[in-house]
């Protein structure tokens, strides 16, 4: 309960902030990252984006006080070789669709984390969409290198 309450409060605040900005067709769920040490050159951001509107939208950029910059990347595996590339046009979120940024695929790269990210804490992140504008979320910090958040599906 002690860990649940602040989480709920933060979640409610984030939702309220998002709702206050403008009625957005974009909803963000399963926002998470993975623990890194204080001098790690990079960290990651994963999210599930859903477009409930009738118009196409696009995630174009993101920022967080916890890192120098945030880049949108895709990760591909071709013939046993891992290739990571920036997505200069961002991530399209077509109407009625759900797009998942997750391990082994499209992800946010947090360049130059300003501090260690410890399991259990939360990291604020602002997403910029072409139509929906700003959406504020919080990434929950999960175990280093884990393939899925501890409470996936909740």
């Amino acid at each position: 309960m002690r860990t649940l309450l602040p989480g709920l409060l933060a979640g409610t605040l984030a939702l309220a902030a998002a709702a206050h900005a403008q009625p957005s067709d974009i909803t963000v769920s399963l926002a998470w990252t993975r623990a890194v040490g204080a001098t790690a050159p990079t960290a990651v951001g994963y999210l599930t984006l859903r477009n409930r509107g009738a118009n196409p939208d696009r995630l174009i950029s993101a920022e967080t006080p916890a890192a120098r910059a945030v880049e949108i990347h895709e990760q591909r595996r071709e013939e046993g070789v891992m290739r990571m590339r920036p997505l200069p046009d961002g991530v399209p979120v077509p109407p009625g669709e759900t797009v998942t940024l997750g391990p082994g695929g499209t992800h946010l790269m947090l360049v130059g984390p300003t501090r260690a990210l410890a399991r259990g804490e939360r990291v604020p992140l602002t997403l910029h969409f072409e139509r929906a504008g700003q959406v504020h979320v919080e990434l929950s910090v999960e175990a280093a290198g884990t393939r899925q958040p501890a409470h996936a599906g909740h």
Binding site: R34, A38, A40, T42, G80, V81, M84, P86, G145
Partner: protein
Amino acid sequence: MLRWIRRVAWGSVAVLGFLVLAISAGWFVTDGPLADRPVATGPASLPIGGPFRLIDHRGRAVTEADFRGRPMTVFFGFTQCPDVCPTTLGDMTALIEALGPEADRLHWLFVSVDWERDTPETMAGYLEAYDRRIVGLSGTEAHVAAAARAFRIYYRRVPLKDGGYTMDHSASVFLLDAAGRFAGTIDHQESHAVALEKLRGLLTSQ
């Protein structure tokens, strides 16, 4: 004159035929059904897991000889890799936890292919978040190239528009036995249970 033309014609048919055969045979072996699983590059006659000279994340100069006597798991990556490399290190950490004390009977190595940015200090900071038994190795451009050759690893530096760069690299985790002989791979997509089985097999075969 006619005979001469006919000879040239037959000659070209022979040459063309040879070319088609040679090219398709080459395809069969390199990309086609006879190709190796694409975990590694370089001449197939070269055994995976040859000699290397690198620096560990505590700043100590090491060679392959320092890791003999125990089976070894090794994979190649780089620290500016937020997705794939942490996943592999997270998998390794989970395997170490699952093996319990048995994990001490293996060496766990992470070799950086990013010779320019990955110093021992960078490696140490990056590895802080994972099991302490994972050893990070880095080195000069030439030493990293030699290590990659020893494991028949593919890697390439890819320039980016913003002036920076990223690294492409082979994904597999290599397994060597206590004598340094190649003993298989763990694929990025294999389950935890399968990987654990492979490591237990490697330990009992010693």
